[in-house]
Symmetry: C2
Subunit: 267 residues, 2 copies
């Protein structure tokens, strides 16, 4: 069976999982079917925050099945990507994604670390997340969406459960593993804007925030943020991003390009 | 001499001050000329956050020469407006604005309180700012713009000097004088977004934030915020406001209407 996925890609379904094509088939991701968090535009927009010319190592914190990190690896040949995922189930999907034959051209630049992003000190290092070795850190931290409270879906609940001070703990890890001058990129709900800025604190500066609106008349549903470790530059609220023209279901041309790895959001 | 003002209004200049027409002459404001903070779009956008049908009392904290508060009085006949200004010089301009013959139709709904917004407790009440009596509180708090550091203009420096925790102190006063369910409206720099949300804390909720961009491709230069005292509703980043079409100097039709009191930004 073939299922249409969020990015206009196609998916082959097998028992309990799908294999979804992204970037018009440039890479594929194994995802749980009908349960758990499924990746789509959020992961692709997050990936679009990393510039084409990036080099070195990237960590995808809370990688889930790996869609965002693998999307960066697919578009940016200069980067090696470490997917970091705590949930054994989701890490299992990420491992299958890395192992897909259709992804073999990327495999030498992909690795999986099964670890809790919130580990600290020696436990974090022992898990494979060394100090100041990453040129880029990306994250789509869990968030607790009101709609999710109505579902008894444990996998999805785990992906979306936001703990108190979570942003502070995730950004502490991002700061620890990023090299000086390294770039943080994240996607989150606009409701968390103050919490995220506060958690960036003295760790990441030169924050660039892009509000993502479903269309020109609608309130924002996501925010994209990049920052530079150690920068003292002031915050910018960048031009907004509109997913659709008002009244249309197709993505705007820019969002379609971002979703499909044809461009990125430059700082 | 006639001087073109920011709102497309005209100004009559006398020694050291100008009398500026706003809302196509619906009211006038006396402002310092060539020194101090001069009101324009910022004051008119702030005024545009108060709905047409509002009733009762409004406090304009840090009112300067009174442009924002008088603009609300002019557009919203149900409101009586209290201008609150600490600086004797600016309060003098506000007093002259209230006293202008061309503003006599508004005079019965305008008053001036010469007081520091940061007063607390009995000192605040003694100055004329009673607890929970205001249906609306508006503010354009001072901000420290890098360009101002180059000028030796003391009046402007006073208007723009941002003290540590200023937002917390201003919102403490706003919260104290607002009735339960009363509306806070403010304009500020987008760089202060986290500080402002944090200062709203448990005082004002249901925050609606509108980012104001010079044009569609540019980063935001102002933010507009409204909130309701005691509300627990979640924050919304509303559709953005673009001052100009890209490459044009005229205001967009919506901004021209907001500048001229022909419409308001509904919650």
């Amino acid at each position: 069976m073939t299922v249409e996925s969020t990015s206009g890609a196609t998916a082959s379904e097998t028992a309990g999982k799908t294999v979804d094509a992204f970037h018009y088939g440039a890479f594929h991701v194994v995802q749980p079917h009908g349960q758990g968090h499924r990746s789509g535009s959020d992961a692709m927009l997050l990936a679009a925050l990393v510039p084409d010319g990036a080099k070195g190592r990237l960590a995808d914190l809370g990688a889930g099945c790996g869609a965002a990190g693998i999307a960066v690896a697919s578009r940016v040949p200069g980067l090696s990507v470490t997917l970091v995922e705590r949930s054994p189930e989701m890490a299992g999907f990420a491992r299958q994604s890395i192992g897909l034959d259709v992804n073999r051209h990327l495999r030498s630049r992909l690795e999986l670390v099964e670890a809790d992003v919130e580990l600290t000190g020696k436990a974090r290092i022992a898990a494979g997340l060394q100090d100041t070795v990453f040129d880029h850190v990306i994250m789509n931290p869990p968030f607790n969406h009101p709609a999710d409270r109505k579902t008894p879906d444990a996998l999805k609940a785990e992906a979306h459960a936001m703990s108190i001070d979570m942003f502070d703990r995730w950004l502490r890890t991002a700061n620890a593993i990023a090299r000086p001058g390294g770039q943080l990129s994240l996607i989150a709900r606009p409701q968390s804007v103050a919490e995220i800025i506060d958690a960036c604190g003295n760790r990441f500066g030169g924050l660039h925030i892009t509000m993502v609106h479903p269309h020109r008349q609608a309130s924002a549903t996501r925010l994209l943020l990049t920052g530079i470790k150690g920068s003292r530059a002031r915050l910018e609220i960048r031009r907004p991003l509109f997913m659709h023209e008002t009244g249309e279901t197709r993505f705007t041309p820019l969002v379609a390009d971002l979703n499909n790895g044809r461009t990125f959001i430059a700082r």
